[in-house]
């Protein structure tokens, strides 16, 4: 099952990935998402693809996209580092897909367009990423009562045979996934740190092998947690789901808040619900004032399934112009 990476994916890894093989990073800084977007546009306009960077003179390909050819050249010269990193991931059952691959989750491309991460690393059944489901988000530090509440939501999702999508962090994230998985359901964890540690966690092993859990992250498998990453990955959680429930949130700050507001104001991928039994929770009330709906507390699998059906009354997605895949339709 050793997959061979396409030349396009190899090129995108060389350009944008830190390729952490050892604990130390060295050399040129990989291209940022913004820089890569410029390059990708330039390539697309010239009807070229990233793999062409591996053998054609750089100057022609880079053109006017304001990237230093020396820097791009030394990023592309990391061939050995790339192959070492890929081998390290494959040994750990970690896969990587790029936007140029047919296996890249369509939901990300459709909903995020050019902002879809150029690379995704993951472990477990990639097919789950296409199934949709219920996203559950909330804080890391919560009391036992909310943990119980969230686990029940997870269990209900499992009973409704819908995937649970969350961020794999402590607190609400893990409670929701735990609830779903313990009840025999499926779950996707969109991680803010690299997937390597979670992929090797003995508690996840069976679930990953049985195709019930998928872990995914846009960050290098060895990357450590960082707040910026945590914020960025919120939109990926929403993008994988058909509806989202905010269990709790701090007011005006923190990842949960920012992610929810971004959905309500800007991205509008999915209907956003908030928990209502916490009367007087000012953050959730504020989100409702911004357009979040009250969670109707579905009690049966049937009710939850209906809630997750495509909702025509939801506000139209902010960006309807469906980006074609980056380098033409997947080949």
């Amino acid at each position: 099952m050793t997959e061979q990476l396409s030349p396009n994916t190899q090129a995108i890894l060389l350009l944008t990935a830190p390729l952490l093989v050892g604990s130390k990073r060295s050399g040129e800084k990989p291209l940022s998402l913004g820089e890569y977007k410029r390059l990708a546009r330039r390539l697309r306009d010239g009807e070229r693809e990233p793999a062409d960077l591996l053998d054609d003179p750089l100057d022609d390909l880079l053109g006017d996209c304001d990237l230093d050819p020396a820097r791009v050249g030394s990023l592309l010269a990391r061939g050995l580092q790339l192959s070492q990193a890929v081998e390290h991931w494959q040994a750990r059952s970690i896969w990587v897909v790029s936007r140029a691959d047919t296996e890249y989750p369509k939901r990300f491309k459709q909903r995020l367009g050019m902002d879809a991460p150029p690379l995704l690393y993951g472990c477990g059944a990639r097919a789950l990423l296409a199934t949709g489901g219920l996203a559950v988000v909330g804080s890391r530090h919560v009391d036992e009562r909310l943990i119980c509440y969230t686990e029940k939501i997870g269990r209900l999702a499992a009973e409704a045979e819908r995937m649970l999508v969350s961020g794999g962090a402590r607190g609400i994230d893990q409670a929701s996934m735990r609830g779903a998985l313990a009840a025999g359901g499926t779950a996707a964890g969109v991680l803010a740190d690299g997937v390597e540690r979670a992929a090797l966690n003995g508690e996840n092993r069976r679930l990953l092998m049985d195709g019930r859990l998928v872990l995914v992250s846009p960050y290098d498998p060895a990357a450590r947690f960082n707040v910026g990453h945590a914020m960025q990955r919120n939109k990926l959680i929403y993008a994988l789901a058909d509806a989202a429930l905010v269990v709790n949130s701090s007011f005006g700050k923190g990842g949960t808040w920012t992610g929810a507001v971004e959905q309500l104001d800007k991205l509008r991928f999915v209907p956003v619900y908030t928990r209502v039994d916490g009367n007087g929770d000012s953050a959730l009330e504020a989100l409702r004032r911004s357009g979040a709906r009250a969670w109707p507390e579905p009690a049966t699998p049937e009710e939850l399934r209906r809630l997750l059906e495509v909702d025509d009354t939801a506000p139209a997605p902010a960006r309807q112009e469906r980006q074609a895949s980056l380098f033409g339709e997947p080949r």
Binding site: G22, L54, L80, E87
Partner: protein, 689 residues
């Protein structure tokens, strides 16, 4: 990149030190291919053809044009020292990082960072080494312009010399983008191996292949059943051979024994194995013709290049024709004639068979390891696994290595701990293990076919390697005699029985200690055994057979063994001299060892006292597969009964395996006395013996 032929020739002349040197057939084409980036290249050329000139000159030319350094992966770097000197003459700064020069790593890492190294030479093992990955490779991995895989046939699991670490190299090559230049080299690759390499290195691979014939070699096979006969043959004929050479043996112990024997007969002979400390000095001494013969295990291997090596003699037949061709092919590269003599004997099939059978773990061993890791989701260190699973240290190491080199791997090492991945071990692993085992058996059989040849030896080897045997010319030297002198055979028999083996005392309790005896950590010096002795190795050509018969057929150790031990004691003369004898008790064979110890005591004129007793039955030590388990099996099993006679003591046992029995017994005896305890056993056993 453009290729500069004048600069290339100039470099060749600098490297060889010959102002009129010319490229050999194919060398220049290969250099041009690499420098111009025409795609991946596989060079199949015999050792000594000059593959190193290809990669050193290509490296220099690439560096001239501002490219990054080259990385060379080779299993036997120790043999590259001469080549590194040639590289330096060409202005190629070459360094190696290996386990023997750790003190230089930091400097090399720094120079890599400063881009002051042109080619870094590493062993395949380095690639899995964490510190190397973290530091050196991070410094260089981002810039390597040319990757050279030496002995590339090791990639193929149809190769005679498949090495687990090369599975990693294969995948690294598979995953490498096409802008990384790649040169693979080997001296031997039959069609099947070439097909595998094409698969691993990509369909666009170019193969350049040289001629396999070695016209200067006079090949000969002689069957001499016993080791004594072969020792006698060597003593008689090696001294008479002109020049210097190598005697290949299969085991480390044979290397030492054969070298000792040849020294006794006035030859400058030295043993060479992976245990040898001064390997480099010995290689240099052989190169400089300062020693007549190196008695070497296959550790003296690929790449050792002495053009005027006059003979290669095998003390036993190796496991495959390719191995044999490579080893014998070291002789006579620059001579008109050289001897390649294969002595074949009774024990070789058992030894090569042992290597074949122990190459892969059993399904049960893998299951046990997985079970242990499943119950510890955070992972286990290797010593922790040994305490949980009854599997030998060597086998566990090998099992973990093989499992971690699968992709996806079943286990991976994260820091110091082994963890399971989210993958199962595929059936393909077992299929490969079975296929390789069958292949090895077939190679072993083919080698015996070679041993039986009356003529046409070179044609046989070339055909076996899928070469063209059409142009083979006849030998230019008369063959050597095929008999051994009976008088010398008797002498060799006596020699084989004269040896004794050191038994080093253990200085530390096992990881976790022994809870019943309440000990852990270091064993106090005043409670340790003294350095002991054993008469032979279980089943060896000297006393081994007699010990085995005594233990399992007769139930009594023969008087010859008593006499042999008494002789051993006399030669050994431990100081302070023991004044009494005791022995290790057994419930399974209550009389065997005490009877022997009593007779030995009589012979030595010392009193015998059975002061050690077994408190309870335990499984036999030999059923405990690793040292930690063997130590735990003894915990609380022995105790002292009665008064100890005064003075130092001989502690007798029939067999020593893990040394724990002797360690615990000595520790108990020395709880009652400050006098020394000298272990003495009939045979050493244990894994691999």
């Amino acid at each position: 990149m453009s290729y500069d032929p004048r600069r290339a020739l100039d470099l060749l002349r600098k490297g060889t030190g010959l102002s009129d040197a010319r490229f050999r057939d194919g060398q220049e084409e290969a250099i041009r291919h690499v420098v111009e980036g025409q795609g991946r290249l596989l060079l199949v050329q015999r050792t000594g053809w000059g593959k190193s000139f290809v990669y050193f000159i290509a490296t220099r030319l690439l560096r001239d044009q501002g490219k990054g350094p080259a990385l060379l992966i080779s299993p036997l770097l120790s043999l590259m020292r001469n080549q590194i000197a040639a590289a330096e003459r060409m202005g190629v700064r070459a360094f190696t990082i290996n386990s023997s020069n750790i003190e230089q790593w930091e400097g090399v890492e720094e120079e890599l960072k400063q881009d002051e190294i042109d080619i870094l030479l590493i062993s395949p093992e380095r690639l899995t080494n964490e510190r190397f990955r973290d530091r050196a490779l991070t410094a260089v991995g981002g810039r390597v312009a040319l990757l050279v895989i030496d002995e590339a046939h090791c990639i193929s699991d149809w190769g005679h010399d498949f090495r687990p670490n090369y599975r990693l190299i294969e995948r690294i090559v598979r995953n490498a983008p096409k802008n990384l230049r790649l040169l693979a080299t080997t001296a031997t690759a039959n069609k099947r191996v070439q097909k595998d390499l094409r698969q691993a290195l990509g369909p666009s691979l170019t193969v350049q292949r040289g001629d396999l014939h070695r016209p200067s070699l006079v090949l000969q096979t002689i069957r001499l059943t016993t080791q004594a006969e072969r020792l006698a043959w060597l003593a008689e004929h090696v001294a008479a051979l002109p020049g210097n050479g190598i005697v290949y043996v299969l085991t480390k112990r044979d290397a030492v024994q054969v070298a000792d024997w040849l020294c006794l007969h006035g030859l400058e002979a030295h043993a060479y194995s992976s245990d040898t400390v001064q390997r480099e000095e010995l290689e240099q001494a052989l190169l400089a013709n300062e020693i007549k013969v190196l008695v070497a295990t296959p550790a003296l291997g690929m790449g050792f290049d002495k053009p005027d090596l006059a003979f290669v003699i095998h003390y036993q037949a190796p496991g495959s024709v390719v191995t044999y061709y490579q080893q014998v092919g070291r002789a006579g590269r620059a001579l008109d004639a050289a001897h390649g003599v294969l002595l074949s004997g009774e024990e070789e099939t058992e030894i090569t068979g042992y290597f074949i059978d122990s190459a892969f773990p059993s399904r049960e061993e893998v299951e046990r390891v997985v079970e242990a890791l499943e119950t510890h989701p955070d992972g286990l260190t290797q010593p922790q696994i040994l305490a949980e699973v009854n599997i030998s240290h060597q086998r566990l190491k090998r099992t973990l290595k093989l499992l971690s080199l699968e992709s996806p791997a079943l286990v991976v090492k994260q820091g110091s701990k082994w963890q399971l991945t989210a993958a199962d071990l595929g059936e393909a692993f077992w299929e490969r293990a079975e296929r390789l085992t069958r292949l090895r058996r077939e190679e072993q059989r083919q080698m015996q076919e070679y041993v039986s040849l009356e003529s046409g030896h070179m044609e046989f080897l070339i055909s076996a390697l899928d070469g063209d045997p059409g142009r083979v010319e006849g030998p230019s030297l008369p063959p050597l005699p095929t008999q051994a002198d009976p008088e010398r055979v008797r002498e060799a028999e006596a020699f084989l029985k004269r040896t004794s083996l050191p038994v080093e005392p253990r200085k530390q309790w096992p990881p976790g200690g022994l809870p019943i005896y309440k000990v852990k950590g270091n064993i106090a010096e005043e409670r340790r055994a003294q350095p002991g002795k054993a008469l032979c190795v279980w089943g060896d050509a000297g006393w081994g057979g007699l010990v085995r018969r005594g233990k399992y057929s007769v139930g009594l150790f023969a008087d010859e063994l008593v006499a042999a031990c008494a002789d051993l004691v006399q030669q050994w003369s431990p100081d302070p001299v023991p004044t009494w004898v005791t022995c290790i008790p057994s419930r399974r064979h209550p009389d065997l060892v005490p009877d022997f110890a009593q007779r030995l005591a009589n012979r030595l004129g010392l009193p015998f006292a059975a002061v050690l007793v077994r408190c309870e039955d335990r499984p036999e030590q030999k059923k405990m597969a690793n040292s930690t388990r063997q130590a735990l099996n003894l915990d609380g099993a022995l105790q002292i009964e009665g008064e100890l006679p005064p003075g130092p003591v001989f502690l007798i046992d029939d067999m020593i395996d893990s040394r724990w029995t002797m360690t615990v017994a000595a520790w108990l005896i020395r709880s009652k006395t400050s006098d020394e305890v000298w272990p003495l056993a009939l045979a050493l056993t244990g894994p691999g013996r």
